[in-house]
Amino acid sequence: MPSPALISGFTPLPFSISPGVVHYVYARAHEAPKKAKQSQQWPAGRTLFLVNVPPDATEREITEIFKSCGTIERVSFDSDAPPVEEPDSSDEEEEEEIEETAVDGEEPQRKRRRKDKTKAPRPPQLIPLPSPAIRKLRRTSQSAHVIFLDDSSLPRALVPSSKPRAWPAGDEEPSGLAHYTSLYTSLRPPLDAVRTHADSFMELFEFEQAKLKQKSRYKKGEAVVDEDGFTLVTRGGAYGQAVGGGVTVASKRFQSRGETRSMGRNRKKDTKEKANFYAFQKAEKQRSDLMKLRRDWESTKEQVEKLKASRKFKPY
C-alpha cells in the first residue's frame, strides 16, 4: 500500500502487529511552542513526538523500537500528564496546547512540596505497596514523547520506512487474560504490606502536616491582609473561627456568589401596596382573570387541535 510520505508534517511509521495488519504511528520532531518559554520537560532538537501509539504500548516497547536510532533518555505518555482542557480544531495549536499546559500549567504542588521535604530534617520513609509490572491500557490514538540523549538520533528516527517493522512483543508485562489476573492480584496486596504502607504513609503525612503548620503565614485569628492593605473577609469555620486567619463575617451566600442580599429592602416596599383596594384594581383583576381563563382555554384548545391533527383521536 503506497502511502504519502508526509502527513501534516508527520512521518507515518508502519508497524506490523500481526501478519498482514499494519498499524501506523506518526512521528515528528517536537516543536516547542513559540510563546512559551523554553521547555525543560521536552528539550527541543532531541525530542520525538509520536501520535497514534497503540493503547497497550509500554515505555519498554517504545524504547525497544527506537533503540537503534540512539540512546533514549526517557519516554513519556501524554495521557499520564495532566490532560488538556479542550482540544481545539487546529492540530498545530492542539499540540502547542499540550505543551503549554505541561509547561506552565501548574506542576502539582506536591512536587514542590516533595522538594522542600528533601531539605527538611529526616523525613520518614514511605514504604510503597508492592507493584508488579502491569500494562497500562490508555485510550486509543494516544501520543507520546521520546527524548533522545543526543540530537543526532532524531533524524534517524524520522526516516520513513517502506516495510513495516514488527512491533516488539513485551513479555515483561502480561497482556490479555494474564493481564487481568495479575491486575486483580496486584490490587489486593497482602495485609501486612497494606499495614506497613499505611503506617509509613501516615507518619509521612503527619510530618508534612506539622511542617505546613509551621510554615503557614497565618495563625488562627489573625487577619489576612493583601498588598493593598485590604483585610480578607471570610466565612467562619465550624465553630465560628476561620481556620488560617481572616475576619469572620461573610455569609455563605456572599462567599459563594460574591454578592450580598439586596432584595430585602425592596421586598418590603412591594408588600405595602394594596391589591384589591381601589375599584379599578378590582375591575382590572376581574378582567385579567377572565382573560387568563380565556387564554388557558384557547391554549388547551390549540393543544387539542394539534393532537387532532396528528390523528390522535381515533381510538381504533
Binding site: 499494519v22 486509543t140 501520543s143 491486575l183 387532532k308
Partner: protein
C-alpha cells in the same frame, strides 16, 4: 413584521402624551377597524403601562382573542373545568366523539336502502302452515336451512309452522336512537331491523318445548329465502349469525357489498314478538320449566331458555326506554358513547380478537346500565343507590357508571330497574337460577343471564383500574389517552396468568342433558360449567377468572347451527395475598352437614382428603405440593389445569408462564450441585449471610476496632431481591466456567471522630488501615473466613475490604466518611478563602485534579447517598408488591440478553423503570395504612410475567425524551439539592426522576445515550409483538431473549471455558459446563480447591470495560454481562470516511492510499487524509484479550 411592530410601538409611545384623554372605549370597539386606528388600539394598552407583561402576552394572539370573553363563553369555560375533569379533558372528549359515530351525511343513502328493504319484506308472500320438518324441504332447495335449535322438532310434532307478512317493521337498537358507536378494528356499525311476526302465527302454548323458537326459525328462514333471491338487486350478502353462538338467538345479517355505502355497516333482521301475542308470558318466570319431556317430572327450571324467549320481546320496549332516558338526561348519548369506547378498548365487545366472554351483542345492557343511573332501581324500601341528577355532564355519567361497575358485587346483589309497575316475576326466583341479575326496564329480561360472573369480575377490575387512573393526580401519563385512546386488548398485561385450552378433546360427562337443553348447545353449556367450576375452585385466590375467545362468526344460510371455535383462553387475575397459599380448607370433618362435604369432594375429586391441623381441627382439605418457590407462584395455574382435567377431561391446558422461570434460574447441572450441598442459597441465603457477617463484626472486641461501628448499610441488588440471577455462595466443586463469586457491596459507617485527616489521600490510607485491623481480627475470630483489601476500585480510588465467609458468601465493604464530600467540593469549587467569586471574574482553569474530583464526587454521591436510599426504597417496594422482584429480574435478564445491562443501562435504572409500572404516588402510605386493602387493590400485579409484559409495553411506547417521574419515594420527601448537582452531565438521555432525584440522571448519567435508547425501543417493540403472538399461538418465549447480532460490524467471540460466569448465559451450552477444568489439565494439575479464589473476578467484564474506555470514540460495544460469550460492536460511521489528519484524532488511523484520494478531487488538503485502520484495531483487540478472545469476526453487510 417585527420592524413594523417596533415602529408602531414607538408611535404609541409618542402618541401617549398627546392622546391621553382619549377614552378607552374607542380601543375596545376599534379592534375591527382599519389599520389607521391600530395605534389607538394599542395606545390604550400604553396607558396601562403598569402591567406591561400582560400586554406583551396578549398582543401576539391578535385582536380577536384579546377581547374579554362573553358571558356564554365564560359559562362554557367554567363548565368545562367544573363538570369535566379539566377543560382539556372536555375538549378531548369533544374531539373523540365525532370520530366514533357515523356521520350524518352517510345516513341518508342508508335510509333509502332501508326503505326499499321495508317494502320488500312487507311483500313477501305467505306460506301455508306445514309440519316443521316438511316445511324445511322447499327452503333447502333454495339453499336455505332452517336454524331449528334443540330440542329439535320431530316427525310427529303436531303443530305447524307458517309464514305471513310481518305485522310491523321497526328500526331498533342504537341506529335509531343515534347511540351507535364505532366498533373496534374491522367492525361494522350495526343496524337492527326488528320484524314483528304477526300474532296469528302463535298459540298460547308455544312457549313450551322450543315451539316458539322453531316457528321463529322458520320465519327467519323464509325471510332469508325471500331475500336471497333479491341479493343482487340489494347488493348485499346474507348470512346467519347467532349471538354468543346461541342458536335460539339467530338473526339474519345483510352485509352490503363493498362500495355500495361509504359507511361500513351491516343490517340485522331480527324477528320479534309483538306485545299482543297470545304466548303465556307469565309462565316464563326464571324458575319455570319450559322444556318438558314425557318421562321427566322433575321440571328443572330453564332460565336461559326463558330469557332467550323473552329477548324476542325486547327491541321495541328497549327503544322506548332509551328514548326516555335520552329525554331525561341530556348527556346520556355522549356518556353511553364514552362508556362503550372504554369497553371496546378493553375487549368487552364483539370483534376479531380475543374478547371477554358474554359481552357479545350487549348493547342494550350498556345503555340500560346508564339508564339505571338515571332512573334508579326497583326496590322495596329505601333504595341503596339514588338516581343521579339529570344535569350531569357526560364525563360525570361515565364516571358514575364506572363507579357502579367497580363497587357493585354481581355475585351477591341484584339489580331490578325501576319500572313503575312493579316486578313482572318474583325477584327471589332470579337468585336461584341466574348468576348475575340485571333486569331491564320492562322487568322481563335479565340482560346478564348469559354473562359468566368471571367476566363481570374482570369488568370490575378494569373499572377500578380506570377509576384510579382518572383520580390520580400523577402527571406521568395522560389519563384521557389511558382511558379512551390506548388499545388495552393485550392479554399479557391484563392477566397474571393465561391458560390456553382446546375444547375439542373435552369430555362432557360433567354436563347434564338438561343444562345442554337450557343453553341450547353443548358448547355453551360446557363453557358455562367451566366458568362456574373454576370460579368456585379458585375462590378468593383470584379477583377474576375470565374466559376469552374470538367472537362468534357469521355462517352461510345453508348452515343451520353455529360452529364453535375450540380454542379459548382462561385469564386469571390474582389476589396476591391469597393466590399462592398451598392448602385449601374445606368443611370440618365433624360438620353434620354432609352437603358441604360432598360438594367439596365433588369439586376436588381425589385431591380432597381429611387432614388434621395444628390447632386440632380435622378438616377436608386440598394440599398443593410444590418443590420450589417458582412452582409456588404457579399454584393457580396448577389448580386450573387440575380442575379442567378431572371435570372436563381437558389435559392440554397450556400456559407459557412457567417457561419464564428457567430464564432466571441456573442451569440444571449447576443447580443440582447446589441442591446437594443443602446450603441456604438465593436471596434468603444472602440475607442470612449478611446478618451473620454484621453480627460477627459487631462482636469483635472493642479494642480491636479503631472506632466503633455505627451501622451497616446493605446496598446491593442481591440483598434487595432484584438481581437477575439469585445470589449463590461459592462452591469449590463448580467447573471453572461457573466459578464466578458475586460480591455483595455493603457500606459501613463508623462513629464520628475528629481524628480523621483532612486530606483525601490520607483518608483513603486510613480506610485501608481500618480494613487491615478488621480483616485480621475477623480472620482470627472466624476460622475459614478470608478477607482481602482491594486498594482501589474499578472506577474510583476508594479502597474496599473483600470478605469471603466460610459458607462461601462474598461481600465487599466500603467505608462511608462524610468528610470526603466536603473535601471533594473544596477541590471543585476551589479554596474558599482564595476564591470569593466576584461577578465578572474569569473562571480559573480547571486541571486534572478538578476533573478527577468531579468524577469521584459523582461516584461518592451514587455510592453513599443515593445507593442506600435507593436500596431501602426498592426493598420496601419488594415487600409491598410481591411480583415486583420477579418482574425486575426478568426485565434485567431481558436487558442483559440484549447486551445492554451494565455497559449501557445500570441495574438501578431498570429497577426504577419497573418501579414505575408498580408504584403510584402514596403507595407507601397506602401500604402502611392497610396492607390487606393494599394487596387487594386493582393496581396490584400478581405475576412477574404480567409485570414483564407491562414493562415491555411501557418501553415500546415511552417517549424517553419527555422523562419519567417514578413515585418510588413518598411525595414531600425532598432531596437536598447538593446531592444531585453535578450529575446529568453525562451522555445519558433517560431522565428517571424521583422525589430524591429531580434531575433524573443519577442512575442514567452514563447511558443509555440516544442511539442506545432508540435501539432499546426497537427491541421492546419486537418483543412486544412477539408477546402478542405467544398468547395466541403458544410459541416459545425464548426468541424474546435471543439477541439478533446481525447489525454489528464485528463480533468478538470469547472462549466460554475461561468465562467464570458462563453458566448464567441464556443459551449456555450444558456440555461445556460439565467438563471440569479440562482446559487446564495440561497446564497445572492443581486440585480445584487449591486454585486461587478470586472473588468477583470477571475478566470478560474488565476486558469489556477496557475496550469501552479505550475505544470510546471509535466504536460502540455491547455485551451480555450475565455470562455473555460475544461482544458486538458498531464502528462510528463518521470515522469510516477519509478525513484530514489530526493529532488528537482519537482513533487509530492509517494514511489514505494515494489512488483512493484521486477520486476525491482536488480538496484543500487531500493528501493528508487518513481513514480508520479497522484491521489494526481488530488485531489490537485480539492482542488485548489474549487467552480470552477466541476470534474477532468482522461482519459484512
Amino acid at each position: 413584521m417585527a420592524a413594523a411592530t417596533l415602529k408602531r410601538k414607538r408611535e404609541v409611545e409618542q402618541s401617549v402624551s398627546k392622546e391621553r384623554d382619549q377614552t378607552p372605549e374607542i380601543s375596545d370597539t376599534g379592534s375591527q377597524g382599519e389599520d389607521d386606528e391600530k395605534p389607538e388600539d394599542e395606545e390604550w394598552n400604553g396607558v396601562n403601562a403598569s402591567e406591561p407583561l400582560d400586554v406583551d402576552e396578549e398582543l401576539p394572539r391578535g385582536g380577536k382573542h384579546a377581547k374579554v370573553p362573553t358571558g356564554v363563553e365564560v359559562r362554557e369555560m367554567k363548565e368545562a373545568a367544573g363538570l369535566f375533569r379539566s377543560s382539556s379533558f372536555k375538549l378531548q372528549i369533544d374531539a373523540i366523539l365525532p370520530n366514533v359515530r357515523p356521520k350524518d351525511k352517510h345516513r341518508l343513502p342508508l335510509e333509502t336502502f332501508l326503505l326499499s328493504l321495508h317494502t320488500l319484506l312487507m311483500n313477501i308472500p305467505s306460506t301455508s302452515p306445514a309440519q316443521p320438518l316438511d316445511a324445511t324441504r322447499p327452503l333447502l332447495k333454495k339453499g336455505v336451512s332452517v336454524p331449528y335449535a334443540t330440542p329439535l322438532p320431530t316427525e310427529d310434532s303436531n303443530w305447524k309452522v307458517a309464514f305471513e307478512a310481518p305485522s310491523n317493521i321497526i328500526l331498533a337498537g342504537s341506529w335509531n336512537t343515534k347511540t351507535s358507536v364505532k366498533p373496534p378494528l374491522g367492525g361494522q356499525y350495526g343496524i337492527d331491523v326488528a320484524v314483528v311476526m304477526p300474532d296469528s302465527l302463535f298459540q298460547e302454548k308455544d312457549y313450551l318445548n322450543g315451539r316458539f323458537f322453531h316457528k321463529r326459525a322458520f320465519y327467519l328462514a323464509t325471510l332469508s329465502a325471500a331475500l336471497s333471491s333479491k341479493i343482487d338487486d340489494l347488493k348485499v350478502d346474507l348470512a346467519y349469525h347467532s349471538q354468543m353462538d346461541n342458536p335460539r338467538l339467530t338473526k339474519l345479517v345483510l352485509t352490503p357489498r363493498p362500495g355500495s355505502f361509504k359507511l361500513n355497516v351491516e343490517i340485522s333482521i331480527i324477528p320479534v314478538l309483538s306485545t299482543t301475542s297470545p304466548l303465556l308470558l307469565q309462565r316464563l318466570a326464571p324458575s319455570e320449566c319450559s322444556v318438558r319431556s314425557a318421562g321427566d317430572d322433575a321440571r328443572k327450571p330453564t332460565p336461559m331458555y326463558n330469557t332467550a324467549l323473552l329477548t324476542a320481546l325486547s327491541p321495541p320496549s328497549h327503544l322506548l326506554s332509551v328514548h326516555k332516558w335520552q329525554q331525561e338526561a341530556a348527556a346520556f348519548t355522549d356518556a353511553l358513547t364514552l362508556l362503550r369506547v372504554w369497553a371496546n378498548q378493553r375487549g368487552f365487545c364483539e370483534g376479531s380478537r380475543m374478547q371477554v366472554r358474554g359481552f357479545e351483542g350487549k348493547g342494550p345492557w350498556w345503555s340500560t346500565l346508564l339508564g339505571l343511573l338515571v332512573t334508579g332501581e326497583e326496590t322495596v324500601g329505601k333504595p341503596k343507590r339514588k338516581p343521579l341528577g339529570r344535569g350531569l355532564s357526560s364525563y360525570q355519567f361515565f364516571k358514575a357508571a364506572l363507579d357502579f361497575l367497580a363497587t357493585f358485587d354481581f355475585g351477591k346483589e341484584r339489580i331490578f330497574l325501576k319500572t313503575g309497575t312493579g316486578h313482572n316475576y318474583p325477584p327471589s326466583e332470579y337468585a336461584e337460577t341466574h348468576d348475575a341479575v340485571f333486569v331491564d326496564a320492562s322487568s322481563r329480561i335479565n340482560l346478564l343471564a348469559d354473562v359468566p360472573l368471571g367476566s363481570l369480575d374482570f369488568l370490575k377490575c378494569e373499572a377500578k383500574k380506570t377509576l384510579s387512573v382518572l383520580e390520580s393526580a400523577s402527571s406521568s401519563f395522560d389519563p384521557f389517552a389511558e382511558t379512551f385512546l390506548h388499545d388495552k386488548h393485550a392479554l399479557c398485561t391484563r392477566f397474571d396468568a393465561i391458560v390456553r385450552v382446546d375444547l375439542s378433546t373435552a369430555a362432557l360427562h360433567d354436563i347434564d342433558k338438561h343444562s345442554i337443553i337450557d343453553h341450547a348447545s353443548p358448547h355453551n353449556a360446557l363453557l358455562a360449567s367451566i366458568s362456574r367450576r373454576l370460579r368456585q375452585g379458585l375462590g378468593d385466590r383470584t379477583k377474576a377468572v375470565t374466559l376469552l375467545h374470538p367472537t362468534s362468526s357469521r355462517r352461510p344460510l345453508s348452515q343451520a347451527l353455529p360452529s364453535n371455535s375450540h380454542i379459548f383462553y382462561i385469564g386469571l387475575v390474582y389476589d396476591t395475598e391469597t393466590a399462592f397459599r398451598q392448602v385449601d380448607h374445606g368443611p370440618d370433618a365433624k360438620d353434620p352437614e354432609s352437603a358441604a362435604k360432598e360438594a367439596f369432594q365433588e369439586l376436588w375429586g381425589d385431591k380432597a382428603e381429611l387432614r388434621m391441623f395444628k390447632d386440632g381441627k380435622i378438616q377436608q382439605s386440598v394440599v398443593w405440593d410444590v418443590k420450589t418457590a417458582d412452582e409456588k407462584s404457579h399454584i393457580p395455574i396448577q389448580i386450573v389445569k387440575y380442575l379442567l382435567d378431572i371435570h372436563f377431561g381437558i389435559t392440554d391446558g397450556r400456559s407459557w408462564h412457567s417457561s419464564f422461570d428457567t430464564l432466571i434460574r441456573m442451569p440444571e447441572p449447576i443447580s443440582k450441585m447446589y441442591a446437594e450441598t443443602k446450603q441456604l442459597v438465593g436471596f434468603k441465603g444472602a440475607t442470612t449471610a449478611f446478618d451473620n457477617l454484621v453480627k460477627a463484626i459487631k462482636a469483635l472486641p472493642e479494642d480491636e476496632l479503631p472506632l466503633s461501628i455505627l451501622n451497616f448499610v446493605p446496598c446491593s441488588s442481591a440483598l434487595r431481591y432484584t438481581s437477575a440471577m439469585a445470589p449463590v455462595p461459592r462452591l469449590a466443586a463448580l467447573p471453572a466456567n461457573a466459578s464466578y463469586v458475586q460480591t455483595i457491596p455493603l457500606i459501613v459507617q463508623f462513629e464520628k471522630s475528629a481524628k480523621w485527616p483532612d486530606d483525601l489521600k490520607a483518608i483513603r490510607v486510613v480506610k485501608m488501615a481500618f480494613f487491615e485491623r478488621i480483616a485480621s481480627s475477623l480472620m482470627n475470630a472466624i476460622p475459614g473466613l478470608t478477607a482481602a483489601i482491594a486498594i482501589r476500585g474499578e472506577d474510583d480510588n476508594d479502597p474496599t475490604m473483600e470478605v469471603l465467609t466460610p459458607e462461601g458468601w462474598a461481600f465487599a465493604i466500603h467505608i462511608w466518611h462524610d468528610r470526603e464530600l466536603t473535601l471533594l467540593n473544596r477541590i471543585i469549587v476551589g479554596d474558599e478563602a482564595q476564591h470569593i467569586k466576584r461577578p465578572g471574574e474569569k473562571k480559573p482553569t480547571k486541571g486534572a485534579e478538578y476533573h478527577d474530583a468531579v468524577a469521584e464526587k459523582e461516584v461518592y454521591l451514587r455510592r453513599f447517598i443515593h445507593g442506600p436510599r435507593h436500596h431501602r426504597a426498592v426493598t420496601k417496594l419488594h415487600h409491598a408488591f410481591p411480583a415486583f422482584s420477579g418482574t425486575t429480574r426478568l426485565v434485567k435478564r431481558w436487558f442483559a440478553a440484549h447486551w445492554l445491562l451494565d455497559g449501557h443501562v445500570s441495574e438501578e435504572a431498570i429497577e426504577l423503570l419497573c418501579a414505575h409500572v408498580f408504584a403510584y404516588p402514596q403507595w407507601e402510605s397506602d401500604h402502611d395504612a392497610n396492607p390487606e386493602a393494599f394487596a387487594a387493590s386493582a393496581s396490584q400485579v400478581g405475576s412477574k410475567e404480567r409485570g414483564f409484559a407491562m414493562v415491555i409495553e411501557f418501553l415500546q411506547s415511552w417517549k424517553w425524551d419527555e422523562g419519567l417521574l417514578v413515585a418510588l419515594y413518598d411525595a414531600g420527601s425532598a432531596a437536598d439539592g447538593e446531592s444531585t448537582e453535578g450529575v446529568g452531565s453525562g451522555q445519558g438521555v433517560w431522565a428517571l426522576k424521583t422525589e430524591m432525584d429531580p434531575t433524573g440522571r443519577v442512575w442514567t448519567n452514563k447511558g443509555p445515550d440516544s442511539i442506545v435508547a432508540r435501539r432499546i425501543q426497537a427491541l421492546a417493540r419486537a418483543t412486544w409483538g412477539h408477546l402478542g403472538t405467544v398468547e395466541t399461538e403458544s410459541e416459545s418465549i425464548l426468541p424474546i431473549f435471543t439477541h439478533p447480532n446481525g447489525d454489528y460490524h464485528f463480533l468478538v467471540e470469547l472462549n466460554p471455558s475461561v468465562l467464570p460466569r458462563y453458566h448464567q448465559n441464556v443459551h449456555a451450552d450444558l456440555a461445556l459446563l460439565s467438563q471440569r477444568h479440562k482446559k487446564f489439565s495440561n497446564l497445572q494439575n492443581t486440585p480445584a480447591d487449591e486454585v486461587e479464589v478470586r472473588i468477583g473476578f470477571d475478566p470478560a467484564r474488565l476486558f469489556f470495560k477496557d475496550l469501552q474506555r479505550i475505544y470510546a470514540n471509535t466504536f460502540r460495544i455491547f455485551w451480555d454481562p450475565l455470562g455473555g460469550d460475544t461482544f458486538g460492536a458498531v464502528w462510528d460511521p463518521t470515522l469510516r470516511e477519509p478525513r484530514s489528519f489530526k493529532v488528537l484524532g482519537g482513533f487509530s488511523s492509517a494514511p489514505c492510499p494515494v489512488e483512493a484520494q484521486k477520486g476525491k478531487g482536488k480538496d484543500s488538503k487531500s493528501k493528508d487524509l487518513v481513514v480508520l485502520n479497522e484491521a489494526a484495531v481488530l488485531s489490537e483487540i485480539r492482542r488485548l484479550g489474549q487467552g480470552l478472545v477466541k476470534d474477532v469476526v468482522p461482519q459484512k453487510k
